[in-house]
Symmetry: C2
């Protein structure tokens, strides 16, 4: 049952007076449960519990923590149809998407559980002593990664499961040994409460300390602001808009003790289509891209919002084909009236630029909260001059830029802000002629895709989801995949520390049988 | 010959009108060369050259880059006595220290050269495609670390070689594939110019692009401010005071595109001496610590500025012994009149706190610019209340805090700001009784030392030099050792990228024979 309360550690709590409801965009009505926003007192209590929990949680073994993560996965699955129905009622997304995203969420939790079970992720490194070294003896020095402390995670509007309450940020932080305080996303507060109940149950079943997880309801910016400003909080994970992400980054940077903020923000995900590919496969590409642009009503951070080609008949034909294909696709629902409102506003802002030509606009009537997909085109020269056109229109929108030549193409790519992805569509014989274009693209993105679409972010060790600002606030980390754990840890050294006081990861006997750097060579040996 | 000019890439340049000289603190006179501060135009040119150089430098192989780093080491050694003499004349430090620091600097450069030669540092990871996976095929995804772009390095006053022009930050950044712009430290501008000439020669000899390195003279804050604000600069390395480091951090955070700043700043390096050790080895410890506190005139960031013990006869005796030992040590010269001025001011600020008792003060006359070592003591309760006493006094100064009991000791440690190091002095039988004290200490520092002194930072893979704020602005990285390269790189993914267009590190054939993560298992195999 959904209570509408906060989880302050394992306790349900609703001391505040600000309440709100979630919204069903398909039915265009409010959902019934009433949620109570967390008070300052509740936030303080949650952070205090998290700080206390950290003292024990950081020392809990990888094996025990992996049991916790696997138990969260089990408890989420046990929520069964109640979770799926709540998810759909709060997002307007179809059941298949809900189940798919649940699978991704559970898969992420289990991937981190496996990482902990194996144990080598701590990057243990041992340099043994050289007492006879001249002119100075060398100490025994051992290093491993240790958790930062309590982490605040902001749920993402567009991924109520995989990037929210028990999503990638939370799974990575818990795996690292950091307690998590979730700032619940108001649009899917019910989904958030259900998943929180699963985490709290899993924590109790596997003997985790109270305060290892809290879930704080919020309808405005106050709860998030208080959390990020709280001295007990040591890092922040966020997925959302540039405006909100930058505000959190600025807040964290101004603290007496500044803390890291990993914000995954906007991206228009440039796609470069080279001439031979355009000529040989223009029709098929138009179909593929019409699908990618409208996938999930365009509500993916990897949505292809910018298509770049070199002027000519092939590009003209492609634009026509894309236009024909995209209007064939039935419009779909957006997550919330606010989201569709922003889509319309941002799209109108783009369309009001005189340089822009609309080539496809789904102009028949659609249901309330359903988005009309749109494709526009612009000359390369105009795009370079007008940076309003560089801004993201979150939703099923894309713009085709018609470049004069290879040089202008490179110039345009270099003029872009940082992006999550860049895609190259090419025939195998022509890519080598565009090395500078490719390098310019690489310099602006976190992931390069060849002859594919940017939508669809595989969860695997080699994935990078992040990129130069404003794709993310710290391009040195990925938000997806097991290595995203590195956002929440720091290296720590022990010098001449007695073996019995060292953590298992660094003991002479290597009791966990992990791979370590031993005198700068990988090894699973004992010492 | 020292020209007093800037290196804008390989060109000597002095377009400005602001000039300054360095100072010989031993002789208490200015040195003769005149240095010309870089102008805005010169800074712009240096950054522009660096951005251009980045386009080729980032693609230069590890083997070629390692030749460059080894050549820098050779050219530094070739400067021979001119470098040592200039160093001594600008710092007041003895020749032995100059040669030792040169050895460390050359060793660091060679360690990074070895890292590049071996090649596995890029953390290559390959997840092969699964075209038949259900419900969706899996793409081939490959990841490695790539350089961020031009880096600004601020030279440190207290390490004119090892943490300055060709010091750890520069060596790590060049190894990563990032061009470097050094903001030369005004106190050792001559040493800086000589080392810069070595880097420029090495770059030319090994065919590196012009602009891979520039050296910019400065006497005030303007040059540094302009560099950190420049859109072409992608990250900053700094070693120095909290005030200056925080100012740079704030400046970088306020940019339209915020950039990472790794600032290694202040630390008072708490040393906890447990009762049995104090009783059994108090006299020897006093001698050891008198040496550590005065080493290099206390001008090390790991100087032990805070000694913590539990009240009693053993602690009283220790304070007396430390007091006796420290005044036996001959005072030595500080780096610059400004440094000794700050030492005296900060020490007087501490001494003016009524709770503090001076137990050792070298009060006989000393030569100009020579520092008088001082030891003070304070009650635990008073220390907790007065945070002025928590502030660093950079120089040969230390304070002994007399704690009431184990609980107060833990409370005091938990009240400290972040530190580079924490030291535990204990007999083997008693450490296990102080687990909470040790954990509190671990939570506040980057490195824990057992029965040693914090001064002396070994350059090895397991070293962490960094720690919670304000020890550093980002505890997720170390400033010392080969892994410090991670500050200047970001992970980057290729999806379904053609083998012939992939960098060697990610090619099927594994031509560099590096260790890679292949479907999440370490491997040197081909695919």
């Amino acid at each position: 049952m959904i209570t509408g309360k906060n989880y302050i550690g394992k306790q349900l709590s609703a001391k505040g007076h600000n309440t709100y409801k979630t919204f069903n965009p398909q039915l265009n009505i409010e959902n019934t449960p009433i949620y109570t926003e967390a008070t300052k007192e509740e936030i303080d209590e949650a952070v205090s519990l998290a700080s206390k929990a950290f003292k024990t949680f950081r020392n809990i073994s990888g094996k025990k923590k992996s049991e916790f993560l696997n138990a969260i996965a089990e408890e989420i699955l046990a929520l069964d149809s109640q979770l799926i129905e709540t998810y759909c009622s709060e997002t307007g997304l179809p059941e298949g998407r809900a189940k798919g995203e649940r699978g991704r969420t559970v898969g992420q939790l289990r991937a981190f559980a496996d990482l902990l079970n194996e144990g080598s992720w701590v990057e243990a490194s041992i340099d043994t002593a050289q007492p006879d070294r001249q002119p100075m003896p060398k100490s025994d020095i051992r290093k491993m990664l240790v958790p930062l402390g309590p982490i605040v995670v902001f749920g993402a509007s567009n991924f109520p499961l995989a990037y929210s309450t028990a999503g990638g940020d939370t799974a990575a932080a818990l795996a690292a040994g950091c307690p998590v305080l979730v700032k619940s996303h108001p649009m899917h507060a019910g989904t958030g409460e259900l998943v929180s109940s699963a985490i709290v149950k899993a924590a109790e079943k596997t003997g985790m300390p109270n305060g290892v997880f809290s879930n704080l309801n919020s309808s405005g910016i106050e709860v998030g602001t208080q959390l990020v400003s709280h001295p007990g909080v040591k890092a922040v994970g966020f997925t959302g808009s540039i405006r909100a992400g930058r505000a959190l980054y600025d807040l964290a940077a101004k603290r007496e003790e500044p803390i890291p903020v990993f914000a995954e923000m906007g991206s228009i995900n440039p796609v470069v289509i080279l001439p031979h590919a355009l000529k040989n496969r223009g029709e098929a590409l138009a179909k593929t891209y019409a699908g990618s642009i409208t996938l999930g009503t365009g509500q993916f951070c990897t949505n292809p919002g910018l298509l770049l080609g070199i002027k000519g008949d092939s590009l003209t034909n492609f634009i026509q084909n894309l236009s024909d294909e995209i209007v064939k696709i039935a419009p779909s629902c957006m997550l919330h009236p606010n989201i569709i409102g922003a889509y319309e506003t941002n799209k109108q802002k783009a369309l009001s630029q005189p340089e822009l030509t609309v080539v496809a606009d789904f102009d028949t009537d659609v249901k309330t909260n359903y988005a009309r997909q749109t494709v526009t085109t612009v000359e390369g020269r105009s795009f370079l001059k007008n940076t309003t056109l560089h801004q993201e229109v979150f939703g099923p929108y894309s713009m085709v830029v018609q470049c004069e030549n290879k040089e202008q193409l490179e110039q345009i790519i270099s003029s872009l802000e940082g992006q999550l992805t860049g895609t190259l569509i090419a025939e195998d014989d022509e890519a080598t002629q565009y090395v500078q274009v490719i390098e310019a693209l690489q310099n602006r993105v976190g992931r390069l895709i060849y002859n594919g679409v940017p939508t669809g972010v595989e969860v695997c060790p080699s994935m990078v989801h992040g990129g130069p600002y404003p794709a993310s606030t710290d391009s040195r980390f990925t938000a997806v995949g097991i290595h995203s754990i590195k956002r929440w840890v720091r290296p720590f050294s022990y010098q001449d520390w007695p073996n019995n006081l060292l953590p298992d990861e660094l003991k002479n006997e290597n009791p966990l049988k992990i791979s370590r750097l031993l005198n700068n060579k990988p090894s699973t040996d004992t010492i």
